[in-house]
């Protein structure tokens, strides 16, 4: 793709001709994407276009088969790494449907995650006090019910609470590459604003974000550098923030037709 004219830094993430299948069904049919540090990319598309597949494959979720293509992340062959290795190398996925872990306290879960990643970086595990201070800070930022930190991970949380919990983890783990899988869906306007502001605060030249969404709504609060349209397993169009508004106004059908005529 040529829309990075003038930027000569190597991308932190380079996806080349990525084909992915679930069983015999091909979901991604040759995706190319380059993401550089400091960028926020929005990937939009109708249901079933393969948006979630893309970010899940990047995170290493089992159940997908990569049939062709490669992904370089900071010079490493990302697809050969275990999910936990990817996480430790700075890849974070905010889940569309966060999983419940009965009996595992949220506090302990986040602490274990933070410590695993710190150990990988050669840093000491955080003391209880240091960790608590950091966590309390994020809990306040995210306007999260502090009681939920003591409860089992996501168990009995509302949809919005789960998404806020994902965002707290995003802030605590501070990854290089954040993949947000429809983090905006199912959120009321206040929650949406809070999540969006967390994404904005994180924005810096030392990280990047890929935001997968069906609706343009969150893009009112997070202005992406690039917007890509994914239809039927292919990135059919890219542009600036204005493209998102166009999609909002016109829907996806015209893009689908355009994709079909161009083959």
């Amino acid at each position: 793709m040529s829309h990075h004219n003038g930027d000569t830094r190597p991308p932190m993430l380079q996806i080349a001709n990525l084909h992915v299948a679930i069983g015999d069904v091909e979901i991604l049919k040759g995706v190319d994407l380059a993401v550089r540090l400091g960028e926020v990319h929005a990937i939009m598309g109708p249901n079933g276009s393969g948006k979630s597949t893309l970010v899940n494959v990047l995170a290493g979720r089992p159940g997908y088969t990569v049939t062709q293509g490669e992904v370089l992340y900071e010079g490493m062959d990302l697809l050969r790494m275990l999910p936990e290795e990817r996480a430790r190398a700075g890849v974070f996925l905010a889940f569309q449907y966060p999983v419940e872990l009965p009996g595992v306290r949220n506090w302990q879960f986040i602490k274990t995650a933070v410590d695993s990643i710190r150990r990988h970086k050669g840093l000491k595990e955080l003391s209880v006090r240091e960790f608590d201070r950091l966590l309390q800070d994020k809990v306040r930022t995210m306007e999260f019910d502090p009681e939920l930190i003591k409860r089992a991970v996501n168990e009995g949380f509302s949809g919005g609470e789960k998404k806020r919990n994902e965002t707290i983890q995003l802030l605590m783990l501070d990854p290089k590459l954040a993949l947000l899988d429809e983090t905006d869906s199912g959120l009321d306007i206040d929650a949406l604003r809070t999540v969006a502001s967390a994404v904005n605060t994180r924005r810096s030249s030392s990280n990047a974000t890929i935001l997968v969404t069906h609706y343009q709504r969150i893009l009112n609060y997070v202005t992406p550098d690039h917007v890509h349209i994914l239809i039927d397993g292919r990135l059919v169009m890219f542009g600036g923030p204005a493209l998102a508004l166009e999609v909002e106004a016109k829907g996806y059908d015209w893009l689908r037709q355009a994709a079909e005529t161009t083959g």
Partner: protein, 506 residues
Amino acid sequence: MQPTRVISRHTKDLDTEYKWGFTTEVEEEVAPKGIDEDVIRYIWAKKQEPEWMLEWRLRAYRYWASLKYEEPRWASVHFPPIDYQGIHYYAAPKSVTGASSLEEVDPEIRKAFDKLGIPLQEQSRLAGVAVDAVFDSVSVATTYQKTLEKLGIIFCPFSEAIQKHPELVRKYMGSVVPYSDNFFAALNSAVFSDGSFIYVPKGVRCPMELMTYFRINSPDTGQFERTLIVADEGAYVSYLEGCTAPIRKSNQLHAAVVELVALDNAEIKYSTLQNWYPGDKEGKGGIYNFVTKRGKALGRRSKISWTQVETGSAITWKYPSVILQGDGSVGEFYSVALVNNYQQADTGTKMTHIGKNTRSTVIAKGISAGHGNNTYRGLIKIMPAAHNAKNFTRCDSLLIGDRSGAHTTPYIEVRNPTARIEHEASTSKVSDDQLFYCQQRGISEEEAHFMIINGFCRDIFKELPFEFAVEARGNLAAGSVPPPDCFVGCRLLAMTIRKRISGTGY
């Protein structure tokens, strides 16, 4: 027909993940293989017991012999016939027999206990925990005996109790588990060699944890220990047992009997960390653990509480039970049973309500991984006189992988209409989604399993004595605040689960 010999079944592979699997080179005095009246007399003579013990042993033996090698087969565990004539029923390190102090005991044995984290020497012994260390058939040492004696508490090897406190032993031995109770109890009564005896006098609250550490060392040897705990009126005692064994290619038989008696207002808390060698990944070797444990809450408002964490053994067959005889007495059973590879566990409890206003609580957690099979088997029995009896039972099963099994077989028998019985059960599975969620946060699959299991067992782990958890670890920095979940489980157990779950390749 001569039963097939399984006690020395040989295989090539040994499980190197079992951390306690070392053997100790020590000269042992061993009874000839097999069992008959001469062997019973041999054991009796070795232990220099009084005449009444020989009679008791022989009665037990004759009852056992009348069962003609027919073990109870109602449990859902499968094993080839055991060759009872291929086992040594007595093995004692030579240096222990007749030793009057720990210094005379073979240093190799002391080293073995050091390695197990149970130092016996005065200078290094565990603080706050008195230990009776049993090596094969005999007790090696008992710490803090003097301290306890000042309070009138008797904590000694069973064989010593027979010599020094025959009146107490005769009164209570067999009063809860008669030798005719079942096949394995009869065998134990005939050949038992050692174990612990505890008596806590009226009104005394035992100030420290009492613990017995059982170590099987000698090959082709069975371990048949017997423990008897009596808490007199108003007394309290918390007791803990731990057990490990070397990695052996053959199966070894362990058939213990434990009897607890609580008089008026007395309380006994009995915790077990069972970590016998479980066999290798193909299910070869490992301990056959056939154990009869029962407590009698004899007195009014007495309480007996069992907590068990069963992670070892190729086969576990045990049902720590409570007879709630005294009015207002309380029985509790908290259990975690973990099976992996080809381990089989059939475990649970019997709560027999006899007295009025008796209450019992049963919480059982079964975890099955690999090809492991886990059965909860329980009986809640309310007798006609037990007015206003209450029971609450909860059985939770956690499945890991797709080859493991979990079964729940609860029996409820109510003969008094005022009884209130509640039973809850659940089965869950560690899903791929849960594992991926953890891994995506940088947590390894092994650590994720550990965390999920730890969470699943939290209700039980919190029943384990904290002092022990700290001591067993031995290196918890003084004064540091443990994170909320740090003290729910004893680290010994944590290590076990971690070791056991890792590399199972499901």
